[in-house]
Symmetry: C2
């Protein structure tokens, strides 16, 4: 198909497609005529992936490039996973973090098996420090319950991964699950917060006189 058709099939504007090709995120089409290139299904698939990573996952172009290169490589799955985790995490140096916060995270996650360089371990310690710096405290097991919820999500991630066959399909699921999983969970937590607070408070944490509730829509 021509580029105009590719744009139509994916909803990505032609100018944006050209930008992705120049940036090296998307391979150029096959030259059919000196001034015309031909695009196939692989381009459609790849463009949808780029779009999901950037528009929904919030990755930068450079970050998308890193994870896409990892999918296309023949790196072992473990390494692809590590690249995906690092790409979605701020780069933190363990020496810049409060050792007491790191110890508390390790204590909170005791029994879990992870490397001391796991980007989640470092990021969790940083959040803990920030929570405490603003006078927040954990009276009813807030952090522990988040850890339990995170374990459920990670088990769901790995269960899904086990249903995929072949290195490339698994690498794609690892990358998409890592990037879009954050967005999915954050979204569901916001719906859950409204639900739980509406059950719990006499004045629910929902906008007054606002839109209809989903249950009212029947």
């Amino acid at each position: 198909m021509k580029m105009a058709k590719l744009s139509e099939a994916t909803g990505v504007p032609v100018a944006t497609i050209k930008f992705y090709i120049r940036a090296g995120l998307l391979q150029g089409g096959e030259r059919s005529l000196p001034n015309q290139a031909d695009y196939g299904d692989a381009h459609v698939q790849r463009l949808r992936l780029i779009r999901g990573l950037i528009e929904v996952g919030g990755l930068t172009v450079a970050a998308s490039q890193r994870v896409i290169e990892a999918i296309d490589s023949d790196k072992p799955l473990a390494e692809t996973f590590e690249i995906a985790q690092q790409t979605v995490s701020d780069e933190l140096d363990q020496s810049s973090l409060d050792p007491a916060a790191l110890s508390r995270i390790d204590e909170l996650l005791s029994g879990w098996h992870y490397h001391s360089t796991n980007p989640g371990r470092l990021a969790a310690a940083r959040v803990l420090t920030a929570f405490e710096a603003v006078g927040q405290h954990d009276e009813r097991g807030w952090f522990k319950r988040y850890a339990e919820a995170a374990l459920l999500a990670a088990e769901a991630d790995v269960d899904e991964l086990e249903t995929r066959h072949g290195r490339e399909a698994q690498a794609e699921t690892v990358v998409i699950g890592t990037v879009l999983g954050d967005a999915l969970f954050a979204a569901l937590r916001r719906a859950a917060q409204e639900h739980v607070s509406s059950l719990r408070f006499s004045t629910p944490l929902t906008p007054e006189n606002s839109a209809e509730t989903v249950e009212d829509r029947s």
Copy 2:
């Protein structure tokens, strides 16, 4: 205290403090001499909050301003909560989303009580569409299990909120929990993914010959 002392107490550089004051995020100090201003504990607290929201929560200056204004206002808690949720969510128009994806989210969350405009509902539908556009599918209840995990986290959020007394303390917890809760969960999920995959795979999803594991450190 003078600005240099405020900088020392919070770890925020003087130039950054001046920027926050110019941007309206932080109140200026009380003039003690024509060329000198005096800062108090309230400035220290506020600066730590700004730092947590921006550096750890990843908010922009404008977004931080919105949620800080909401904390300082006398708006009902429900409205502060709504502002916090909107601030951390992309602005999505329901009409731009796939109605089938919205229905599937409502079905997934059936029994939950939330408004049709809940930013989490809309964002979850967008993620679902992006997942499917890249050929991902849900074979072992991936989304349902994420919803269950999100419910646990939201219950922990509301339980903590109930231990706070007074509108300002509750508003601060709502804002911090909304902004930093995303970062905390994402971090813990990364540690959990390494843990679960190390149990599940013969070649664990962890870097080979890499750093020591936390358990090895004893």
